[in-house]
Symmetry: C2
Subunit: 382 residues, 2 copies
């Protein structure tokens, strides 16, 4: 591995209020939210004709800071491997917009935001939303910025699900969708992992039905357990073996106790702990649930009509050791798109790193994205 290109360096999150009480966000459910503040970042220069816009859609626990850093160069954005000058999503040529998702907790309105109607955090009174709603907010931000069409939307995992929804909901506005290790419908096992994560959070005595913001403590135990379990699904069995094996933490001989002894335990405990500083338990509930219900091709007639209407072409990528959303999920997407004559390139990328591969500098993956975007840009110039 090895990242090509440079890093963006210092970047800044911007915030904008998109909806008002008079003109609220109307969700798929019919419920409304207002105002909706959105945190976003932009990288690169916007072309005069707006023909170089790329929208980045983040996964379950991402935020607006996809590339560059906020002051500490050792802590770059979550997709800094992919986005930057000379990188596959090349900010020397593209104008990249990255938003924090609706329902998130990193600057965009979500369950931890104050409900103006009550003066208190929404908690579980925040309405349930869909992937369409996530995309609706992104589209509204672009409109606010005066952008009417997008060269490409790109996302991994839940991000890829948003890219798919973009093409269905805004068929004229998206030229290319880059869908990485995503799914068009979670399997029973996928839902099962989500369900256990939510049970861990909601059973935590400090959860207080989601109304924990003013108690001075949240469902930290449950949230850290949820995060630990999720991490198992993000790594391949083989990468766990290589990374940790059965090695003992900080000593030669095992302690033989019930505490943290193996390196893999220490890693998971650490991941569970640091997550608490940056993520809200209610956001975790809503954003896992939005994935469970995602099933954009469920209605065959609607799928036919919408895919017939879409102008979007697709690059779909999966990783051979990903067992969170294995390649069969991506192949199912490709089958549906192909059946409706939507142009799609598909590749299964060899990578030992499991689901996490989409965040890493896997050369064949990066080359494939770079080549696809090069071609997309070249086609535009014709």
């Amino acid at each position: 591995m090895g990242t090509t290109g440079r890093t963006l360096g210092l970047v800044e999150t911007q915030r904008v209020v998109l909806f008002t009480e008079d003109d609220p966000l109307v969700l798929d459910s019919g419920e409304t939210i207002a105002p909706v503040e959105v945190a976003y970042e932009t990288y690169g220069e916007r072309a005069a004709d707006d023909r170089n816009v790329v929208v980045v859609c983040h996964a379950l626990t991402g935020d607006a800071n996809a590339a560059g850093h906020h002051g500490d160069p050792t802590r770059p954005g979550w997709w800094d491997t992919l986005i930057g000058p000379g990188k596959p999503v090349d900010t020397d040529r593209l104008f990249v917009i990255s938003t924090n998702l609706l329902g998130g907790c990193q600057g965009t309105t979500g369950p931890s935001s104050v409900n103006p109607a009550t003066g208190r955090p929404y908690g579980l009174t925040f309405p349930l939303f869909t992937v369409s709603d996530l995309v609706r907010v992104q589209r509204a931000l672009l409109s606010r910025l005066g952008i009417e069409s997008v060269l490409a939307a790109v996302g991994g995992s839940l991000g890829g699900m948003q890219v798919l929804q973009w093409a269905l909901d805004y068929p004229d506005d998206l030229e290319h969708g880059i869908v990485v290790c995503a799914t068009a419908r979670l399997s029973a096992q996928n839902i099962a992992f989500s369900a256990v994560a939510r049970a861990a959070i909601m059973n935590d005595p400090d959860f207080h039905d989601g109304d924990y913001y003013e108690t001075g403590r949240g469902p930290d135990h449950g949230l850290s357990v949820a995060r630990m379990m999720a991490h198992i699904t993000y790594l391949s069995e083989e990468s766990m073996r290589q990374k940790f094996g059965r090695r003992i933490q900080d000593r030669d001989e095992p302690r033989f106790d019930l505490g943290v002894d193996f390196q893999v335990e220490s890693y998971l405990q650490h991941q569970g702990k640091v997550f608490l500083d940056r993520f809200d338990a209610n956001s975790y509930l809503y954003l896992t649930r939005v994935m469970d219900y995602f099933d954009p091709f469920a209605d065959r007639d609607a799928t036919r009509d919408r895919l017939k209407a879409t102008a979007t072409k697709f690059l779909v990528l999966s990783f051979d050791t990903d067992w969170r959303f294995d390649s069969s999920h991506s192949r199912a997407i490709v089958r549906t798109l192909t059946a409706h004559r939507v142009p799609v390139s598909y590749r299964e990328i060899p990578s030992p790193h499991g689901h996490d591969s989409f965040l890493l500098s896997v050369p064949e993956y990066h080359r494939t994205v770079a080549a696809y975007i090069d071609r997309a840009l070249a086609e535009r110039e014709i």
Copy 2:
């Protein structure tokens, strides 16, 4: 599927005290426990020459009631599919002994038992033990019953690990070991799942460092989350798809909320809940930990010496859709045994049911065990 043979009908658990303060159980760690009460059941008639004894070793959450029932025929023992008159472990011909494990919570001394030195439950003062210690207690029970050699030991998962240890620790006493979907060393991913389960329990505010017995409540939330997560690993992705798919519980249309909506969620919640009635959280900690540390072939010289000395022949079985301990674990056992010229038959059994297959009436699995035991009995008669 379909079980051949009959069920044993009503059976009874017996209890015996095996060790005393003057003659305590000495664990691998050097620590001692006394007394050790052991719950066990026997099925079939003991032959005059004791040459028909089969020891059953249970998995993580089993108990002494392997076959027959305790009054409710709809709730047979956990291995009633395999053990009974005319079944693969045929109680018309065999004398079967099934014990609850040391550290368990179903009649055998464990963390929930009263420590005579304090008059209070052991909790986390119960010493950590090894698979060797589990087997040591089984061997002591047989000695008490006057049994000096065993035709076969049989077990699945943690049960199979005990069978392997039997052959290493009592090389002259065990003729056949039947090791089903087990492992000789957990992988990093296997340990990771255990670690998250323990974190769920130990982080539960009602855990009180394991000293919860007199508080009127235990770490139920944590234990149920641990059990829910474990259940995901017991089923194959395919069997989950067949069993539940994305079907909604008790209605046609989804509720669209954060609660239990999909059938797979309802199943897991139920499994988590009913588990609380029959299992102790501390036992869960100890019995998962004993698996993490199990690594009987780690010392090459000792392995060589001990396998050279063993008289045991093996049947090793795995299931093709098991991802808790996949076939590579069984093949590793077979490789080690074969390298040391220990006779071993190995089969990977096709079954859609994942790790749980070992508890189910999978015809090829049952035929294989039946044929192996038939041959073992026939050899004895020569």
